[in-house]
Amino acid sequence: MNNLEKVLKKQPKKWIINLIFVLAVLAAIVYSFAGSHINWTRFNTVGISLRIMIEGLGSINTDFLLGTGIYQFEEGVVYLALETLAIAFLGTLIGAVLAVPFGFLAAKNIVGKKVARIGEAVLVLIRVFPEIILALILVKGFGVNALTGVLTIGLHSIGMIGKLFSETIENMDRSSIEALESEGADTLTKIRYGILPQLMSDLSSITLYRLDINVRSATVLGIIGAGGLGASLILAAENWNWDILGTIMISIIVMVLLVDAVSGYLRNKLL
């Protein structure tokens, strides 16, 4: 046995772990399907459904798109899409502003380990609270309108933005602050020239990223009355109005792609 073969023999038996992993995943899938009551005959009508869907998607309802004809302008997709964008933008702004104090409260190098742990726990709780449940609660206090959507997205965004902010603050480079200190700068000057320039680009990048996510959730929150496209979406879906559904779907795709492109461009510029 030469040296090479000895080394080969010595390598850990990874395949055992891999096998266990694969078997676990397979068992989980089998269990998931076997335990659920799935009626496979439902796939029989897929062809018909597909034809109805494609026919509906092919005939875009321009009256509904622009809010002309039998539709009021404020019922049109263009207006609703702008309202959705408004909800996402204002919600993200509120979330980002509120996240700054939370970010500092969860940063170990600012408030110490104990307080940071509490801050972190609060942020986790905000993050795991499903957006739609939050909207269900807020809709009682603020009514069926876009304001509820803005507040829901604002409050929910604090969780993720705050966490990422605190990580940025923890990774902050202290040398520039020390340099300013050695020059005799006061606290405000230190914050203005030592801390803000470092944090600004990261904070904006995080906020833009969250805007991407929020545009998607703003389209959805309307189903429980928080404004935006969601209300028309769920109404059309209940009656299977594919021409209206298709119009909404395409507008969502265009809107999300546009926002993604703009925020991606801005984030690249920030780096």
Partner: protein
């Protein structure tokens, strides 16, 4: 614009501070977008919120706390459904994502006409919110767990493909080239150089997506795609206490899944 003369004799122009411009843009956008949000003071009833909290988290009418907790126990079934749906959807979507991720990575096939179209389709899939996918799935296969699995699988597929091709693109290609230079074909080279590098990330993303899917189960049930969301929707009109109980149970499960996910992912890295 301010000019400074440095001691060496050079003139330096202080760059314009862009921050004021950015703040102005944000301000203008805020004003424009605010026009869409009509605030009617008559609609704002903060007191209602407190009443709602009481309704959610105390037993209704002549029910006792015993009933409240007994109801929590009956939620095992929809919760199990949610977890199974998320698991099956995540695994199917993630596995389906692998070939598409390879096709859309720039460094493996190096063919523009292949990876741009694939990426475009994936991007379109990713823009559709999970709720809309669930609505469409319900249209095709009816309400229930199956539509949930389909929606979750499609949603996971979109995210996983994007995350995975980004990982494949950052993979160290030297071992791939080394294998190719010894005469191995692309598949063999991929198997022994790229897969060992991306496998841990793949598993880690899968757990992360699973976590996301459990969280989105609340909304999926709302449109009839099964799981704990259905319980919430069924009771939202008359039984707030049951909704409250379902919310508590759901939060506990989501927290549990998140701890599990964080634990496993930290072990993987």
């Amino acid at each position: 614009m301010r000019k400074f003369t440095v001691s060496s004799g050079k003139t330096v122009v202080k760059p314009i501070n862009k921050i004021w411009f950015i703040l102005l843009v944000i301000l203008i956008l805020t004003v424009i977008f605010s026009l869409f949000i009509r605030i009617d003071p008559r609609n704002i009833r903060i007191g209602e919120l407190f009443i709602l909290f009481e309704k959610l988290f105390t037993p209704k009418g002549n029910r006792t706390w015993g009933d409240y907790f007994a109801f929590m126990l009956t939620l095992r079934e929809p919760l199990g459904e949610t977890l199974k749906m998320s698991l099956a959807g995540t695994v199917i979507g993630s596995l389906a994502a692998v070939p598409f991720a390879i096709l859309s990575a720039k460094n493996i096939l190096k063919n523009k006409f292949l990876y741009y179209p694939v990426r475009f389709v994936i991007n379109i899939v990713r823009t559709i919110p999970a709720l809309l996918l669930a609505l469409i799935a319900v249209f095709f296969v009816g309400t229930g767990v199956l539509s949930g699995i389909i929606a979750i699988a499609l949603f996971s597929f979109g995210i996983m493909t994007k995350m995975l091709y980004e990982v494949i693109e950052t993979v160290d290609m030297t071992s791939f080239e080394a294998l190719e230079s010894t005469g191995a074909n692309k598949i063999v080279a991929f198997r022994f150089s790229v897969i060992p590098q991306i496998a841990p990330m793949f598993v880690s993303y899968m757990i992360y997506i699973f976590e996301m899917n459990v969280r989105s189960s609340a909304i999926l049930g709302y449109v009839g795609a099964g799981g704990i969301g259905t319980t919430i929707k069924d009771n939202i009109l008359y039984n707030y206490d049951r909704v409250g109980a379902a919310i508590i149970v759901m939060l506990v499960v989501i927290l549990g899944v998140q701890f599990f996910s964080n634990f496993v992912r930290s072990k993987l890295q």
